[in-house]
Amino acid sequence: MNFITRIREARFWPMLWKEFIQMRRDRLTLLMMTGLPAIQLVLFGYAIQTDVRHLKTVVLDESRTAESRALVAVMTNTGSFDLVGAVADRTALRDAIESGVASAALVIPPDYERNIKRGRTAEAQIIVDAADPQSSSSAISGAQLAALARGATIVAERYRAPPPIDMRVRPWYNPEQRSAVFIVPGVIGILLTITMILITSTAIVRERERGTLEQLIVTPIGKPSLMLGKLVPFVLVGYVQMTVVMALGKLIFRIPTVGSIPLLYLLTVPFIVGSLGVGLLISTIARNQVQAMQFSFFFMLPNILLSGYVFPRVAMPLPAQWIGLLLPLTFYLNILRGILLKGIGIGQLWRPTLALTVFAVVLFVVSVRRFSKTIE
């Protein structure tokens, strides 16, 4: 038998063929593989915005002067405040915020322009609905910065001198500070985790539950073909999901893809292998599909919370950061964001790559050993 015939007649192919048919017919799996990417993208790309902009703002302008109008213009130019109307007095202002018509109010007292002209400190006030500190913090700091800048301009005009300090902030890699740019690359990592762990482990447990695994072991298929035929389809699905998310991310959310995509695909290998190891491990522990699903979610929860997918790791208490270091996703997110957003290469990414490779080897070897034992 020549080499080509041997490859063509390898017992791995019927496994692959069967697996794809089953995947296509299983609605839940299909939904998880196609629906989840879509939902995750929309949820985390659109809905979850950690940067809150465009707070609806009312103005109580008791000064009604050129200077007060200039201040309103400066505030709206920050992009944090959207003017939705003017109010006549403090009662109307309180009404507007309490009823939710506005979540911020700009108050300019009657003596605002007079104070500026006389060289005294003019006061103005921004009231922000800060019940949710996360959503108000960027508006608050934006307002402070805008006021400082306006003050500097006034001083410079008065003394006909350039401002003493001109600090220019350059937010690299995500100049518009959009959270989608931060989140969407992470969606790839979360999806691969779901496919490799949840879907793979339930697929294997299903074979055991229904007695088809036992039937397969009696056939001459052999362990390597059995395992490869079972795992490779999910790897292919993972790469397709990844490509789709990247394409949609670029089209819909204008996610930059600065770095080398082939490098990203390559460095995804250890992440996939490690995750498959976890999936395989779960399949040897779980007695039925429900258990496999529960174990998978149990593993995925810390991945979503502690890996730096949504919440920045630097903001976490130290023990949470240490737990994060035990999750392959933490390192894979570094690689994803590093390549896609920063365009860095293996020279800067060798640490997360090394960590992922260690995870992959350990997890896969351990789980393949365990799995082999269970099919003897």
Binding site: R8, E9, R11, W13, P14, M15, W17, K18, I21, Q22, R25, D26, R210, G211, T212, E214, Q215, L216, I217, V218, T219, P220, I221, G222, E376
Partner: protein
Amino acid sequence: MPSAPPAEAVVTEGLRKVFQGGLVAVDHLDLTIHRGEVFGLLGPNGSGKTTTIRMLCGLLMPTAGRAAVVGHDVEREPELIRTKIGYMSQRYGLYDDLTVYENLRFYATVYGLHGRLRAERLEKHMDEIGLSSMRTQLAGTLSGGWKQRLALACATAHEPEMLFLDEPTAGVDPAARRAFWKSIYELAAHGTTILVTTHYMDEAERCQRLAFLSRGHLIGLGTVQEILAQFKQPTIEDVFIELQRRDEGAAA
């Protein structure tokens, strides 16, 4: 050069299986099954029938003793055995979400059938078992009897030398059981050796030779006539109950 086929399909000597926790499932089993025989393995639940079959198929490793299936040692050459045997368990091992044809095609390919040979063999099998009209039906939607036929077809698509059937007729109606046994005899007529376990005594009487197992060891062996004469009982069912009573009495 192909070696001459051994005269015996199964030979076991002192076969023993002890599970973790110390349960002795099979003990000192000496058994010989001739080529082309329809051999019945009887015994109550937990008597070691399934464990024996699983050891002969290479699903379980023996703790002690030797077993050879179609001329190959189960511990040293399990891969060779797997290409030459078929196995059908009470769970059938069918993929519910594949069609009748896809199930057949999958198992045939796993057993190394390809191209025209596979296509011809599959058509022949679908005709023989009367499943041609159901080829695109999902296996999960078949009734018990049809599932059983499909499982048999899947286990025999590669025309194995020996077929292991572990309670193949549990839970199917009498008509389906009769049809099933007709297929068994046809396979045997073509030279396939068959080892079958069952709880139905009418099925036991259809076997050429029988072995009775109780609590892991062999307590009776021979043709139906020999066994009836040996134990002076009118039917196999009476023998079964009597042997089990004696064995349990001996243990007490």
